[in-house]
């Protein structure tokens, strides 16, 4: 049980998955905001739960988090994590309200805009993935939480923690053009359940 052995070809496949999914999501975000969005080369890492908690600025860093579960042929958890400042910029721009702030219990319209943004982005990520792999995926309606990163991400570790003490995460970061070198980075994190890795590799004819 636990995670399968991962070789360099597997690693390339997982990177490509992050690439395809996040590229579509970044394009969707760019269309939505009418802004240029830059995307990094995906990182695929096998890390401990505590390394996972440190990923986006540490367990106590307050972030805006979108989370959904994927069911179907491929199962796992998916997160879209944004620093508060970046989420504020996006939503202020989207709803044309420069007073909007997630820190002061953002307005209903801003919150539902964020929820909808999560819907659109995760939808484009997963449908691109589903087309590429020819696998059925049924995402749950995304949930939204503004809280400590550790508290948000740990829900994605629950399923995995029953079989392993490690997590394989496909991490693609995006940023607004001109803000690439700042801490204003968003993260698409895909955490396939351990049993789903072989499903992915098989779908592409690699054992």
């Amino acid at each position: 049980m636990g995670h399968p052995k991962i070789n360099s070809m597997h690693l390339d496949i997982l990177k490509e998955i992050g690439n395809i999914g996040a590229a579509h999501a970044a394009t969707a975000l760019s269309d939505l905001l009418k802004k240029k969005i830059e995307m990094r080369v995906p990182k695929v890492e096998m890390i401990t739960f505590n390394e996972m908690m440190d990923l986006a600025g540490g367990p106590e860093k307050v972030v805006v988090g979108i989370f959904l579960r994927i069911e179907g042929d491929l199962e796992g958890s998916m997160f879209f994590i944004l620093p508060i400042e970046q989420a504020n910029r996006f939503i202020q721009h989207l709803i044309q309200d420069d007073q909007f702030d997630f820190r002061s219990n953002g307005s209903f319209i801003g919150m539902s805009a964020m929820q909808e943004m999560g819907n659109i982005l995760s939808g484009s990520y997963l449908s691109a993935l589903s087309d590429f792999l020819q696998l059925k995926m049924y995402p749950t309606v995304p949930g939204l939480s503004i809280d400590m990163f550790g508290a948000i991400i740990s829900i994605g570790l629950i399923e995995i923690s029953q079989v392993s003490d490690y997590v394989i995460v496909i991490n693609t970061s995006i940023s607004e053009e001109g803000l690439e070198n700042t801490e204003m980075k968003g993260h698409f994190l895909l955490l396939p359940d351990p049993e789903s890795f072989n499903v992915i590799f098989k779908a592409l004819g690699v054992e």
Binding site: F49, V62, G150, I155, I158
Partner: protein, 167 residues
């Protein structure tokens, strides 16, 4: 949180546990559905903290078990560590925090209710071991960072929206 103390702060990660003696304090960050369980001996001023993720080790489908991950094995393991440090079992008391539901889903999947299930499991194990639960801050839908001071037996709890409180 306890800024003016001379002791150090021992940090406990997810699915980990540790023990401290006064003047040191012990803390864990970013509890969501996980539960932080503190066991302490007021006389010896020694305390332990375990950051558990799952209610029961029977959920494990792996060959090796990290006992700090589960309520049953985690609390038992912490108890043994405390006895080695000179704590007396009959004097041990507990304070717990966490077990939130970070996302609301219309799914009936058990995983989504993991926070409340963790809290129930912790209480059951404490009862079986005869360790009284003195205070708790559990449930809700906020993440928590907690820190325990064995000198005062106070557990500080910080959340994003409600600031710092003490139990």
């Amino acid at each position: 949180m306890f800024a003016s103390k001379e002791g150090k702060v021992v940090k406990v990660g997810i699915a980990q546990m540790d023990v401290v003696k006064s003047p040191d304090t012990i803390r864990t960050s970013g509890l969501g559905s996980c539960v932080g369980v503190v066991l302490y001996d007021e006389t010896k001023k020694v305390a332990g903290l375990v950051h558990i993720m799952l209610p029961d080790s029977s959920l494990s489908r792996s060959e090796t078990i990290n006992c700090a991950k589960f309520a049953d094995t985690g609390i038992q393991g912490l108890l043994e560590m405390l006895l080695v440090e000179g704590a007396q079992k009959y004097r041990l008391k507990a304070k717990i925090a966490g077990g939130a539901q970070m996302f609301q889903f219309a799914s009936d999947k058990n995983m989504m209710r993991i926070g409340p299930r963790n809290v129930e499991a912790v209480k059951k194990v404490l009862k079986e071991l005869g360790i009284p639960l003195i205070a708790e801050d559990t449930g809700g839908n906020s993440g928590r960072t907690i820190e325990f001071d064995p000198d005062t037996s106070k557990l500080m709890i910080r959340t994003v929206n409600k600031g710092v409180s003490e139990i």
